[in-house]
Symmetry: C4
Subunit: 198 residues, 4 copies
Amino acid sequence: MRTSRLEAFSDGVFAIAATLLVLELRVPDEGVDLPRALFHLWPAYAAYLISFATIGIIWVNHHTLLEHCKRADRPFLYLNLLLLITVGIVPFPTALVGRYILAEHGATAALVVYGLGALLIAIAFSGVFFYATSGRHLIGGEAEAKRLRIDGRLFPIGLVSYTIGIALAFVEPKASLAMYALTAAFYALPVLPLPRER
Amino acid sequence: MRTSRLEAFSDGVFAIAATLLVLELRVPDEGVDLPRALFHLWPAYAAYLISFATIGIIWVNHHTLLEHCKRADRPFLYLNLLLLITVGIVPFPTALVGRYILAEHGATAALVVYGLGALLIAIAFSGVFFYATSGRHLIGGEAEAKRLRIDGRLFPIGLVSYTIGIALAFVEPKASLAMYALTAAFYALPVLPLPRER
Amino acid sequence: MRTSRLEAFSDGVFAIAATLLVLELRVPDEGVDLPRALFHLWPAYAAYLISFATIGIIWVNHHTLLEHCKRADRPFLYLNLLLLITVGIVPFPTALVGRYILAEHGATAALVVYGLGALLIAIAFSGVFFYATSGRHLIGGEAEAKRLRIDGRLFPIGLVSYTIGIALAFVEPKASLAMYALTAAFYALPVLPLPRER
Amino acid sequence: MRTSRLEAFSDGVFAIAATLLVLELRVPDEGVDLPRALFHLWPAYAAYLISFATIGIIWVNHHTLLEHCKRADRPFLYLNLLLLITVGIVPFPTALVGRYILAEHGATAALVVYGLGALLIAIAFSGVFFYATSGRHLIGGEAEAKRLRIDGRLFPIGLVSYTIGIALAFVEPKASLAMYALTAAFYALPVLPLPRER
């Protein structure tokens, strides 16, 4: 099976999940002091920025991985679908964090949910990664699959760092959010190698 | 007519309908016990999961069917449009189920509407399937069309299982939802064969 | 300039505008008689159906026209952008009609707005059509451009029928909505010819 | 790395950000004088029009620039991601302007936020433009990169005009909005050249 429609459907979900985040930036009601109200929305801006960047960086890594894949099979489509289900849910924990990170009660719960969502993404992407590189003929040659598997050995690090982020939520919610942002920044590094040539 | 834009438009509608589902996961109002309120949202999570998986699995089967099609004609575009109209409506019954499945009144109505929506999808997809495989030259050769028609004889089973799900809604709404989930799982099996070679 | 990204961006706007329509199907508040409340939503279902079909049929005609185009230039991109601006607004008049067609006051205004929106689409598409077929080298040869212009002479009929629909809104709003549905059905006919060969 | 998925993901975000703008056109509550209420929505219509046109024109220029690019690398993907983050936020300042431009208090703040958003887009796009044309081998030849850099020397003018628009917001909000519309119109001119041949 070709990978082109897999890419198109995935690109669609990534792009929509990222762009829907803006709906959580809500216009303050009339009658308030608008500059002040806009300033107090900063947690929502921060959550928008971190979640959009996270989705975008996942997209870059998805793109890099798929550059190696010559074809797709049904299990790969379903593992990818699991990944998309977890990516598609991102606007919900993002909204939770934007609204609750400064609240007296609920900040911990909001950041735990955000971390659980991110952890699910990391698990699903690790599944996609290991399936693609486990020599099941999706990637052109066994040598390239092996190289990718070795070069990408740091790839599942999100499983650890998101777990730390969840633990931090019980101590200091803002430190937890910083951990999630740092994890996104880590994945922006060239964790996965590009194909040697095309 | 090429099938590439048909695929692009369809991929768009599938991806958007699936990703819009997240808008029904609503952030609890401030002042509540957040962990408890998040826990009580489980029917909305279940509805999100089942509907996203259903749309994703329909997409996989749509993708598989289109892999066989060498070209498209106008009636095929319109049958496909009917399918997309029914897929695009999924967020509405999903929201209904998420909000009403635990309600004292309305659970039956919500699951009947969900089943009717799914039944419409099954009818529309059966129309697309029979039109594509009825030897009208969309698929390369008559032999392949016939093989597809025979191998895919279990494909319209959703017409039966969604009807059973609707009947179950009057007895036990949760059993009805389980039936819808099971039907999605059935369609995740390789019901439609892949092209023998490319 | 290639037409592929023009098509991708257009497909995106068409697919999103159509799929956003579902957001206007609002889940009734708890505490009501759900089956009854769902039944009374029928104008919203009708508006969803007519608008999704209208957008889908515009997409089919856009697709057919673009099959003839070998390239795009800047004015064509901007005429197409005007078309997309008018298509993107469809969810707003659709929501108006769904909520006001049965209201004591406002039904006429809602259907006038719907008709004006549809008229703007018809004007913009006519602009795209005449620009593409006016021998400005977008279409391969002058002969094919001429044939398309002649075969498509009924194409701007929406300018007339949507005007009639607007006039009908002052007499009987439901007749006006029927006129809009009929116009969509007319455009589902093969008004534009396909390329003779590829 | 190919540019095709970069284009697909970007097209998705552009198309969705533009089409989400319609959600800010809110149906007036029942019981009001509908024609009058619809007329008073004109600032929301104007904001829709200007923002959709702005996004569409950015898309045309993005498309033109990418026509020159033969490949992409990781920094380019991330600069492009920054651009998409700023484009994806457009519905928020658009909603602000639509609701506050006529308000006694808040019009200045709304138009400052709109201008800051537009300025961020101009900065991000300038980054994408300079990176692509700085001879880093994304564009086929050094000669073409140089020509593009010289011909596109007016490209970062938005940095100036959006700053003027922000200043105008403190004097007369409507003049500020006109400045933003004028800037979009400027970018609709062929600021960036097309590739000489393909």
